[in-house]
C-alpha cells in the first residue's frame, strides 16, 4: 500500500519545476547573449562614427593642405595663415580620434560624451596604426614647414618652409588612396557588415526564443499534464479500491482522531451492525453511547485515551479493552445481540488516529452458550453414569424405586381435589417432606444429579411454603420440577438397567414378609459415614436384629432412621477432640436394635453423643414464639414436641444434612403411616435414645 501513497507537496512537481528552470535559464542566456551582441554592435557603430569623422576631417585637411600650397606658391600669405591654423586644429582633432580608437575613451558631440571602446579587430588596428603613422608624418613635416620660432605661438607668414610644405602635401596626396580605400572605406564597410551580422544574430535569437517557448509549451502540456493525469488516475484507482474495501468488508470500520471525533469515511456494514448511519464527525462517545451500556462507556473512554498515549505499550494493555465482547443495548422486545470492538493505533510518524473495528458476534456467543450447555449436559451424564457405577447397585436400585414412588406420589398429590388455601398449603408441606427425604437418600447413595435437583426443587417449594397466599399457578413451577424428576428417573433407570443393575432380589420380599434388610443398613451406614466426614466426626453404626424388620414398615422406618442418623451425627455426636476431652472414645457409636414384644415391634436408636440440649431447644422455642408452660419455662415434653414439630432445628446453618428442621416432621409422618409411637430418652453428655413402637 505504501508505494501508492501520493507523493507529497513539491516532490510531485519536481520535474515540472526543473524543466521550467531549465527553460528560463536557456531563455535568459539567449537574451543575455543578445544584449551583449547589441552592445558590441552599438560600439562598432560608434567606432564607425569616429571613422566617419576621421574621413571627413582628413578630406578636409587634404584639400586645405593643397590650397595652402597653392596659395603659398602664388604668394597669397594671408590665406596661408588662415588655412594653416585650420589644419593645425584639425590635426589635433584627428589625434583625439586616433587615441579614442586606440585606447578607448569618449568623444564629445553636441554637448555630451559618447563612450567608445578600443578597436579589437587586429586588421583594423593595423590599418589605424598605419593611418595614424601617415598623419603623424604629415604633422611632422607640416610642423617643420611652419616652424614656430622660439617665443612665438603663431606661424608667421614669412616663416614657412616651402620644401617641407611641399613634402607634407605630397605625402598626404600620395596616401589618400590608401586612406580612403583601405583605412576608411574597407574598415567602414567591414564594420557595417559586422553590425549587420549581429543584427541577424539578434533576429535569430528572438526566433529561437519564440520556437523554444512554443516547443516547451507543447511538451509541457502533453508530457506533464499527461503525467498528472496518470497520477490522478492512480489516485482515483486507489480511492476506488478503498471504497470497494469499505463496501465489502464484513466488519464496521471507522477512524477516530485525537479528539475522539469520528472520521468521514466508514464501512457500509457499520450501519447494519450498530444501527447508526450518519456517524461522520460525531463524537465517539455519542455514537457508542447508543450502543453499549453506560458503565462500559466510561472504561472505554479511559482505554482509548491510554491507547492514544505514546508512552503506553499497546500490546501490554490490549486485554484491558472493556468492549472486546459486549452486549448491545437493544429494545426490550428485540433479540439479544453481542458485539466485539477492536481498537488499533494508526501511526503516521506519530499516533494520529485510532482504527475502530466492530463485529457482530451474536452467533458466536450463541454457539458458545450452546456448547457450554451441551458440555454441562454431557458432564451431567458422565456424572450420573459414574455415580451409578460407583454406588452399591442394591442401594441404587432401592433408591431409584423410592424415587419413582416419590414422583408418582407427588403427581397424585398435585392432581388431588382441593384448591382452597389450606388444602394447597397441605399439599406443599407434603411435597416438601417427600423431596427432602429423597434428597437425604440421594445424598447417601451419592447420586449428585439427584441431590442437585432435589436442592433446587426443595428451595422452590420452601419459597412457596413461606408465601401467605397460594394459588394454583404457583404449582406450575412444582409441576415443572416434578417433570424434571421424572425425566431424571427415566434416564437413570435406563442407564442403570443397561449397566445390568437390576438384579432381581425382590422375590425374597414377597415370600416371607421378612426381608433381607442388608441394603437398607448399608444405606444408613453409608449415610452416616458421609455425614460424619462432612462434619469432621467419626462414627460407627451397628445394628441388631434389623434383618427381622417386617417389609411393610421397612421403607417408613428407613426414612425415620435416615433423619435420626443425620441428626445424631450433626447434633448429637461430638467431634473426636471433644469426645476425648470428656473421656469418650474418638469414634461415636450409633446402635439400632429391633425386637418383638407382645405383638409389637420395638425399634430403638441410640447414640452416645452429648444428648439433647434442652436449653437450646427452650431458646429456640422462645424465639419461635411458642408459649411456655409454667412461668417462662418449658416442660421437657413440650420441648421434645417442639423438637419433633416441623421447623425446629438446633443447628443454625442450612447444611445438607440437617438444618431445615424438616427431618422431624418426616418422622411424624412416617410414624403415622405405621401407627407407631415414639419416645425419647436423653442423658446430657452421655446418650440420646429414641424408641419406636409399632404394631406388627
Amino acid at each position: 500500500m505504501k508505494e501508492n501513497k501520493p507523493v507529497s507537496g513539491l516532490k510531485r512537481y519536481q520535474g515540472m519545476l526543473l524543466s521550467f528552470v531549465a527553460y528560463t535559464l536557456v531563455v535568459v542566456g539567449l537574451l543575455y547573449y543578445n544584449y551583449r551582441i547589441s552592445q558590441t554592435s552599438e560600439m562598432i557603430g560608434y567606432q564607425n562614427d569616429i571613422i566617419g569623422r576621421l574621413s571627413d576631417d582628413t578630406i578636409m585637411m587634404h584639400s586645405a593642405a593643397n590650397e595652402v600650397l597653392a596659395d603659398a606658391l602664388r604668394g597669397r600669405n594671408e590665406k596661408v595663415d588662415q588655412q594653416a591654423k585650420t589644419i593645425t586644429d584639425t590635426l589635433a582633432g584627428l589625434q583625439l580620434y586616433f587615441d579614442a580608437l586606440e585606447r578607448g575613451g569618449s568623444y564629445g558631440d553636441l554637448g555630451y560624451d559618447t563612450p567608445v571602446d578600443a578597436l579589437t579587430n587586429p586588421e583594423h588596428i593595423k590599418r589605424l596604426a598605419s593611418f595614424n603613422n601617415i598623419i603623424n608624418n604629415f604633422k611632422l613635416l607640416w610642423t617643420e614647414a611652419f616652424q614656430v620660432p622660439e617665443g612665438s605661438e603663431q606661424a608667421s607668414i614669412q616663416s614657412f618652409d616651402l620644401t617641407n610644405l611641399s613634402r607634407a602635401v605630397d605625402l598626404i596626396n600620395g596616401s589618400m588612396n590608401n586612406i580612403y580605400d583601405i583605412y576608411i572605406e574597407d574598415t567602414w564597410s567591414e564594420n557595417l557588415a559586422q553590425m549587420a551580422k549581429y543584427a541577424a544574430y539578434s533576429r535569430n535569437i528572438m526566433i529561437a526564443i519564440g520556437v523554444i517557448t512554443a516547443l516547451y509549451f507543447i511538451v509541457f502540456v502533453f508530457y506533464f499534464v499527461r503525467r498528472l493525469g496518470v497520477a490522478d488516475r492512480k489516485l482515483a484507482l486507489a480511492t476506488r479500491e478503498i471504497e470497494d474495501i469499505m463496501e465489502t468488508v464484513k466488519e464496521g470500520l471507522f477512524l477516530v482522531d485525537k479528539e475522539l471525533t469520528v472520521g468521514s469515511q466508514h464501512s457500509s456494514q457499520l450501519k447494519h451492525i450498530i444501527g447508526q448511519d450518519n456517524i461522520a464527525n460525531q463524537k465517539l462517545e455519542q455514537v457508542l453511547g447508543k450502543v453499549i451500556p453506560g458503565d462500559a462507556l466510561e472504561s472505554t473512554r479511559l482505554f482509548i485515551n491510554q491507547l492514544m498515549n505514546k508512552k503506553v505499550v499497546p500490546e501490554l494493555i490490549d486485554t484491558l479493552n472493556p468492549i472486546s465482547r459486549v452486549r448491545m443495548k437493544t429494545n426490550f422486545s428485540d433479540p439479544e445481540r453481542w458485539l466485539s470492538f477492536n481498537f488499533s493505533r494508526v501511526m503516521d510518524q506519530e499516533i494520529s488516529r485510532i482504527l475502530v473495528s466492530v463485529a457482530d458476534i451474536t452467533k458466536e456467543v450463541e454457539l458458545e452458550r450452546r456448547l457450554e450447555e451441551a458440555k454441562a449436559k454431557h458432564d451431567e451424564q458422565i456424572e450420573l453414569l459414574s455415580s451409578l457405577l460407583s454406588s452399591d447397585p442394591h442401594l441404587v436400585e432401592a433408591f431409584l424405586e423410592k424415587s419413582r414412588k416419590t414422583a408418582s406420589y407427588i403427581n397424585n398429590v398435585l392432581r388431588e381435589e382441593g384448591y382452597d388455601v389450606r388444602e394447597l398449603k397441605r399439599k406443599i408441606d407434603i411435597i416438601f417432606r417427600e423431596i427432602h427425604s429423597l434428597k437425604g437418600e440421594a445424598s447417601a447413595v451419592k447420586l449428585s444429579a439427584y441431590v442437585s435437583l432435589c436442592e433446587v426443587f426443595e428451595n422452590r417449594v420452601q419459597v412457596l411454603k413461606r408465601q401467605p397466599d397460594l394459588t394454583g399457578d404457583d404449582f406450575l413451577s412444582v409441576a415443572v420440577y416434578l417433570e424434571e424428576l421424572e425425566v431424571l428417573n427415566d434416564r437413570a433407570t435406563t442407564v442403570f438397567s443397561r449397566l445390568g443393575g437390576n438384579r432381581d432380589h425382590g422375590t425374597a420380599h414377597l415370600a416371607t414378609g421378612m426381608v433381607d434388610n442388608s441394603h437398607g443398613l448399608d444405606l444408613l451406614n453409608s449415610l452416616a459415614q458421609q455425614a460424619a466426614k462432612r462434619n469432621g466426626k467419626q462414627v460407627r453404626l451397628c445394628s441388631e436384629n434389623t434383618s427381622h424388620l417386617p417389609q411393610n414398615v421397612q421403607q417408613p422406618l428407613q426414612d425415620i432412621l435416615i433423619q435420626m442418623v443425620r441428626n445424631a451425627v450433626v447434633h448429637g455426636i461430638e467431634t473426636p477432640e471433644q469426645r476425648q476431652q470428656v473421656g469418650k472414645q474418638k469414634e461415636g457409636n450409633i446402635r439400632i436394635r429391633f425386637a418383638e414384644k407382645n405383638g409389637q415391634g420395638v425399634l430403638s436408636f441410640e447414640d452416645d453423643g452429648r444428648g439433647i440440649d434442652f436449653d437450646q431447644l427452650a431458646r429456640i422455642a422462645k424465639e419461635r414464639g411458642i408459649a411456655p408452660d409454667n412461668g417462662d419455662g418449658y416442660s421437657r415434653n413440650k420441648l421434645i414436641a417442639v423438637m419433633f414439630a416441623s421447623g425446629v432445628s438446633t443447628v443454625k446453618t442450612n447444611s445438607e444434612d440437617a438444618g431445615r428442621g424438616v427431618g422431624t416432621s418426616i418422622i411424624q409422618d412416617r410414624l403415622r403411616q405405621i401407627n407407631g409411637k415414639i419416645s425419647v430418652n436423653s442423658q446430657p453428655g452421655q446418650l440420646t435414645r429414641f424408641v419406636i413402637a409399632f404394631p406388627m
Partner: protein, 123 residues
C-alpha cells in the same frame, strides 16, 4: 545494563523476578514490599524500570504509581498483578504505568514486556 526496582509484597514474587532478570542484561538494584518503600527506593536509586504489584499494604500500587510519576514524569513502570479487574488496571495505566502483565508470569513474557516498556523511553 538496565537497572530495575521490583515492588511486590510477596518475597516469592520478588525473588522470582530477580531470578528471571539475571539472565538478561538487567540488574535488580532494589526490592520493595510496599508502596512507601518503593517510592523511597525510587527516589534514591532512580532505576531504569519499575515492576509494580497493585495489592500491597501501606500504600497500594495505584497510589504508588501516582507518586512515582509525580516525582519523575518519565518513570517507566510495568504493572505485574494478579488482579483481573479491567477498570483497576486501566486506572493504573491512566496514572502513568506503561503496560501490565497478569500473574502468574512466565519468563519469556516478562522479559518481552520489560523490553517493550524500555523501548518507550523518549531519549
Amino acid at each position: 545494563m538496565y537497572r530495575i526496582l521490583v515492588v511486590d509484597d510477596s518475597s516469592v514474587v520478588r525473588n522470582l523476578i530477580e531470578r528471571i532478570s539475571i539472565k538478561e542484561d538487567l540488574t535488580v538494584i532494589a526490592k520493595a514490599s510496599n508502596g512507601e518503600e518503593a517510592l523511597e527506593l525510587y527516589k534514591r536509586h532512580k532505576p531504569d524500570l519499575v515492576t509494580m504489584d497493585l495489592t500491597m499494604p501501606k500504600m497500594d500500587g495505584i497510589e504508588c504509581i501516582e507518586q512515582i510519576i509525580g516525582a519523575d514524569p518519565d518513570a517507566l513502570i510495568l504493572v505485574v498483578s494478579a488482579l483481573s479487574d479491567k477498570f483497576t488496571l486501566l486506572q493504573a495505566i491512566d496514572r502513568g504505568a506503561r503496560g501490565f502483565l497478569n500473574k502468574p508470569i512466565d519468563e519469556q513474557t516478562l522479559l518481552d514486556a520489560i523490553q517493550k516498556v524500555l523501548a518507550t523511553r523518549e531519549n
